[in-house]
């Protein structure tokens, strides 16, 4: 039973094709990574998955229904989406973010406010302003917000960007445990090929097309990495794997 399905999805900004004939099925409980060079269409794919963009051809289905047909609260209770840039120009507090997530879904809350904060390791921080915590904690506070929505499918655009190695590992461990504990489907884009090895499954894209789809240990080869990032043939991929 798939939770998110891309079926022959094409998308272009104006005349420039950005996603070409992209198909894949994300199953429940899967922690999936999206790998590709800058401008390869990762963010666009996640936006298509979230329903922010409509495919020019093909279809994105969330829980067996086109994602664009889920409206407002219905969509918010099924799907959480976190863009790459998370800026809060006003002094929101951690607890207020979680409340926003809970307010998006008025019924059937998966987790209480306290449980959500405990899940991301921010217990006791309800009253802390976002400006007074580290970048890693801020990222986790936003993840707490979309967890509070109670959706079973999460799309995260480069959630590890800007975090140091320890926070990257912590956040990935957290996502893994959430996947297992609540049978969530998580699709995240990332750049770190070493961290990518810890995921259940990788989707590798180049210029909007799916290059490879499978277990990280099986598909991350010297040839694939060279091809994905247009590297010189002499580049020693072993150093980044």
């Amino acid at each position: 039973m798939s939770s998110l399905r891309f079926d022959q999805v094409c998308f272009s900004y104006g005349n420039a094709p950005c996603v070409v004939q992209f198909s894949c099925n994300l199953a429940k409980g899967e922690l999936v990574g999206l790998i590709g060079a800058n401008g390869s269409g990762k963010s666009t794919l996640l936006r298509l998955g979230a329903g922010l963009l409509t495919p020019t051809m093909g279809q994105v289905e969330l829980d067996s229904k086109p994602v664009r047909l889920w409206k407002g609260e219905e969509r918010a209770t099924r799907l959480g989406y976190l863009p790459q840039s998370i800026e809060a120009p006003l002094p929101f507090r951690v607890g207020e973010l979680v409340e926003m997530g809970r307010a998006a879904a008025r019924k059937d809350h998966l987790l209480s406010c306290r449980e959500v904060l405990a899940a991301v390791g921010l217990e006791g921080h309800e009253q802390t302003p976002l400006s007074q915590i580290s970048g890693g904690e801020r990222r986790r506070a936003f993840i707490a917000m979309i967890l509070a929505q109670g959706g079973k499918t999460l799309l995260l655009d480069e959630p590890l960007a800007g975090l140091d190695l320890r926070y990257q590992y912590e956040l990935l461990t957290l996502l893994r445990s959430l996947c297992q504990a609540h049978n969530l489907t998580i699709l995240l884009s990332l750049h770190d090929l070493i961290l990518a090895r810890n995921l259940d499954r990788l989707l590798v894209i180049r210029q909007g097309q799916l290059l490879a789809d499978g277990l990280p240990t099986e598909i991350l080869t010297q040839r694939l990495v060279q091809q994905t990032f247009d590297l010189e043939p002499g580049f020693q991929v072993a150093n980044v794997l």
Partner: protein, 313 residues
């Protein structure tokens, strides 16, 4: 906070060119309190409250801590439209003023927002620059209209537009109060949208909202409130800028708390500013707008310094 408000109200009733013992007024003093000071206080409360809420809305919607009706030029647009109305009717149709102010505020908001956006959406800096530019332009036209106005009554009415509450009476209170209530209720009803837009359109969409629709409704609410404030007492700057920040520092940024407390705080600040203005240098009355600007401008600079990281970069 309500206690503070009570103290401000009592101070404002008793202080002025003449200090009045509220417990034992003579008939003349009673007349001063009821006919002059009471309407003035009500006008200051409604006007300051409208400005506080409008500022809280605009700062969230445009994700810019320096936004308010004055900085974004909507106050000037509202005042200009109202001034033309006063001129055209020779100051006879006072009830029209709030509606004209609303038209002016809406048109100015639309122009400033369209100038402040590019292909990717509304840009914080661009919006601010557009607002300041449009605001200066409209203010200049307003001054031109004022200096050209001949009839004495119209001239007085137009001077009142510049943020002096000395002539406040009950005439525009019903209509302006109505605009304020509608604007406030609309903003409170869209509080989820206001919170979410402050985090950006994509986050708002992820929370199940339609960013464009929420923004339109909230800008409409801010325009209603701006129009109410301008119709009540002309252009007063900085109340909409300062009050929401002070409130957020106390209770966090959730609109559910920020909107009502900004209304109370804004009313209180303007009432206090007006009381100070008419008490410190009798018989001279300093317009409330001047007092708020004297406090507000330094505050603005401190905010600017904080917004850029507190040092030279």
């Amino acid at each position: 906070m309500l206690g503070c408000l009570g103290v401000v109200l009592l101070l404002s009733l008793s202080l002025g060119q003449q200090t009045i013992n509220l417990l034992d007024p003579d008939p003349l003093q009673l007349k001063i309190v009821l006919d002059l000071r009471l309407p003035r206080i009500v006008v200051a409360l409604l006007m300051g409250g409208s400005l506080g809420v409008a500022g809280a809305i605009l700062q969230g919607v445009f994700r810019n801590p320096l936004a308010d009706p004055y900085v974004l030029g909507t106050s000037s647009g509202a005042a200009l439209a109202a001034a033309f109305g006063l001129l055209a009717t020779q100051g006879t149709e006072i009830w029209l003023v709030p509606l004209l102010a609303l038209t002016g505020a809406l048109v100015t908001s639309a122009v400033v927002v369209s100038l402040g956006r590019d292909a990717w959406g509304v840009r914080a800096e661009r919006l601010l620059l557009a607002g300041v530019g449009i605001g200066f332009f409209l203010s200049a036209i307003l001054m031109l209209v004022m200096s050209l106005a001949q009839a004495d009554g119209v001239k007085r009415a137009l001077l009142w537009m510049a943020g002096d509450l000395a002539g406040a009476d009950w005439s525009v209170v019903p209509m302006a109060g109505l605009l304020m209530v509608v604007g406030f209720v609309l903003a409170l009803a869209r509080r989820r949208g206001l919170n979410a837009l402050a985090l950006g359109d994509e986050v708002a969409f992820g929370l199940g909202l339609e960013p464009g629709r929420e923004r339109t409704l909230l800008v409409l609410a801010a325009s209603l409130l701006t129009a109410a404030s301008v119709a009540l007492g002309g252009i007063v700057g900085f109340v909409g800028l300062m009050v929401p920040h002070a409130v957020r520092a106390l209770v966090g940024a959730d609109a559910r708390r920020v909107l009502p407390l900004s209304a109370i705080g804004g009313g209180m600040l303007l009432c206090l500013a007006d009381t100070v203005g008419r008490s410190v240098l009798p018989p001279v009355e300093i317009p409330a707008g001047v007092v708020t600007a004297l406090i507000g401008a330094p505050w603005f600079l401190i905010m600017l310094r904080r917004a850029t990281g507190g040092g030279l970069r």
